[in-house]
């Protein structure tokens, strides 16, 4: 319209007209640009004012984080027991901090926080708040409920940071096997240390340990400890074929959630790191060496009528029979004299290399890095070392090492590598290394069974289960002197003895005899009953068949002809 008005007043033609229309078109282009720009601004205003505001309001409703979550390190993997029960996990937990520069009423704030977190160190909190900086920790790893209550206090100077905290729901049940990790997620002991590379990259680990068996073993070991007023104890269930540790206990133990506060005595892993003279258990190996290397029969005899003097040592019998004993009798009566003669017959070099093949002379190769180095007599073994070593005197090994050696001998003769990582069922043997022949393995199994049916391990017998085992009672050597009243009483057992599946060991440190044991603190009285109770628990936990046993076909019956005793020996009812 306005163009028409202009048209009427001024009429320009020719070249000039061209210039005018060009100016006009430029003007309109400019106008369009402005219009578009204002339109965009209007639209963007609408967007910010209405649409975005709506989205932000929606987000608030869903409870968005009011406190920024800092980038935190990757989550450490979880640890499970063999049945999938959680034993170690990393949880994101909030820690409370304060910005002292914007605190208004420090006293009131401390009171408010102390009401929510009862174990708050009030004095420390006050000094943190009065500090002249912009950051101070008030409380680490608070619970979700406490965090909510702090949020309700609503003080702007408070804030949360998140860390992963390692939690161990089973507390002290398997302290030494799981071990612990530090605040930065670095494994410091046990499986946490042994499998640090796997856990560190966020993968889970499933242990071979069965929580239920672990509990049963811990219960029975601590019962034996308190009954006999002992200072420490060890318990173990080992799969004789796969080498899997089903239960591993070292007492005293500690709550993994408070690992920092545990004493050295509690954190010391007696099962794998501690080395002990385990005594007569070595007779299993010296007898196996004799049977393996000299092919003698069970009727072969040794003169145990009087003690042997060799070097500084006088070798004597605990249950002295004072007569000529067969191989079976030496084992059954646990005759030191007989075993010493066996060791002499085998010879120092052969006996040592036999022990070495069983892994008793070197530190164990094991998932847990805390393994003890065995204490052995200096090489070459002279007669006295050889003879005492044949009944386990003068050499110290860890209980786990002892148990794996026993497993290797009784499982048919194939060396076993112990592990705490679960294996696939029917994973088979852990090595191809044969340490003794099938025949020797069978003879040893018969001897171990005989020990329970008529010998020193009677108290480990369980009705219906073919348990076999060997006692070991040793005097403790402290500062180079042996103490008569300070004993290590242990029992190693295997069952079912026809084809051993489980090896069980219990070791009690410094038990004191009581009324029920007629003052005895020896292995047969202290450790054997604990093994019996562990086997009983295993029957119900694992659902083992308990009524398939036929006393008429007991493997130890084969050995009865070699037992010459005034009293007639009868097989115990189990």
């Amino acid at each position: 319209m306005w163009r028409h008005a202009r048209h009427r007043s001024i009429v320009i033609e020719g070249e000039r007209q061209c210039a005018v229309s060009m100016a006009q078109s430029r003007l309109s282009i400019l106008a369009v640009c402005f219009i578009v720009a204002y339109l965009l601004i209007a639209v963007r205003l609408m967007d910010l004012g209405i649409v975005q505001a709506q989205i932000l309001a929606d987000a608030d409703d869903t409870g968005s984080e009011t406190v920024a979550v800092k980038e935190i390190a990757a989550r450490r993997g979880d640890i499970f027991d063999r049945n999938g029960f959680l034993v170690a996990s990393s949880l994101k937990t909030p820690s409370l901090f304060v910005d002292p520069s914007i605190v208004l009423d420090a006293d009131q704030l401390v009171r408010d926080i102390a009401r929510v977190i009862p174990d708050l160190d009030v004095e420390k909190a006050s000094s943190v708040m009065s500090a002249n900086n912009r950051f101070g920790w008030l409380a680490h790893n608070i619970t979700p409920a406490q965090q909510q209550a702090i949020l309700e206090v609503g003080d702007p100077s408070l804030g949360f940071k998140y860390h992963y905290t390692r939690v161990y729901p089973q507390g002290s049940l398997m302290s030494h096997m799981i071990g612990y990790a530090d605040r930065d997620g670095l494994g410091l002991a046990g499986a946490e240390r042994g499998f640090d590379d796997i856990l560190g990259r966020g993968d889970n680990v499933t242990l071979s340990i069965d929580l239920r068996l672990q509990h049963a073993v811990k219960r029975e070991v601590s019962r034996a400890m308190s009954e006999f007023n002992a200072i420490a104890g060890v318990g173990l269930i080992l799969d004789a074929h796969s080498g899997e540790i089903l239960a591993g206990v070292s007492l005293p133990d500690f709550d993994l959630n408070k690992a920092g506060r545990a004493t050295d005595n509690q954190t010391f892993n007696r099962l794998t790191l501690g080395v002990y003279e385990l005594g007569s258990m070595f007779k299993i190996f010296s007898t196996a060496a004799l049977l393996e290397l000299h092919k003698v029969g069970m009727d072969y005899t040794f003169d145990a009528r009087k003690p042997i003097k060799v070097g500084w040592h006088k070798i004597n019998d605990y249950h002295a029979e004072k007569r000529i004993l067969t191989v079976a009798e030496v084992f059954m009566y646990s005759s030191n004299i007989g075993s010493a003669l066996m060791g002499k017959m085998v010879g120092g070099k052969a006996l040592r290399s036999f022990y070495k093949d069983l892994g008793l002379m070197d530190p164990l190769r094991f998932d847990i890095k805390e393994v003890g180095k065995p204490l052995t007599p200096p090489e070459p073994w002279r007669d006295d070392s050889t003879m005492t070593a044949s009944y386990g005197h003068g050499l110290s090994t860890s209980p786990l090492q002892m148990s794996t050696a026993v497993a290797s001998v009784v499982n048919g003769g194939i060396f076993v590598h112990p592990t705490i990582k679960k294996k696939a069922p029917k994973a088979g043997l852990t090595s191809e290394v044969r340490v003794v022949s099938e025949e020797t393995s069978e003879q040893i199994r018969k001897l171990l069974r005989l020990n329970v049916t008529v010998g020193t391990g009677k108290k480990s017998g369980v009705k219906g289960m073919v348990v076999g085992g060997k006692t070991g009672t040793a005097e403790k050597s402290i500062d180079g002197r042996y103490h008569r009243d300070k004993l290590i009483s242990s029992f190693v057992a295997a069952f079912p003895m026809d084809d051993p599946r489980y090896v069980i060991m219990v070791m009690i440190d410094e038990p004191k005899g009581n009324k029920s044991s007629y003052g005895y603190a020896t292995a047969g009285w202290v450790a054997a009953p604990a093994v019996k109770r562990i086997v009983e628990s295993m029957v119900s936990i694992l659902g083992l068949p308990a009524d398939r046993y036929d006393p008429a076909t007991d493997i130890s019956l084969d050995l009865l002809p070699y037992i010459h005793d005034k009293k007639e020996k009868k097989l115990a009812s189990y």
């Binding site: 369009v32 219009i35 578009v36 989205i55 996990s89 507390g171 509990h215 029957v539 119900s540 398939r548």
Partner: protein, 120 residues
């Protein structure tokens, strides 16, 4: 002249249309992105909650705790070897019941602990 004005008007309308279309698309993309982020956060929160609950469940299933609960609430002690039966044929015959309730109360010896009496 008129024609070029029409052309401008048309371009203007097209521009406005495409601008608003673009804005709509970018708005919906932003919204979807926010939704995804929110869902991711929600998933992570839920996973964290699940982890806490799993840890709590594991804690409650501690064998020592279950054992003492079973003993206190139901009088269930360690299994005696004489009561372990592995083949059905070796289970002894039940005596004929005097009455349904009577049999139950006699054959299942349960000692109810304090808290459980209400549920009886």
């Amino acid at each position: 002249m008129k024609k070029s004005l029409l052309k401008y008007g048309f371009v203007l309308v097209l521009l406005a249309l495409s601008a608003s279309g673009l804005m709509r698309v970018s708005q919906s993309v932003q919204k979807v992105e926010r939704d995804i982020a929110a869902t991711d956060r929600a998933i992570e929160r839920e996973q964290e909650k699940i982890r806490v609950l799993r840890a709590e469940w594991a804690y409650l299933n501690n064998p020592a705790r279950l054992e003492s609960l079973a003993l206190d609430a139901f009088g269930l002690d360690k299994v005696d070897m004489s009561s372990v039966v592995s083949t059905p044929s070796s289970i002894p015959e039940l005596t004929p019941p005097a009455g349904e309730a009577g049999m139950l109360s006699r054959s299942i010896p349960i000692a109810y602990g304090g808290n459980n009496e209400g549920s009886e």
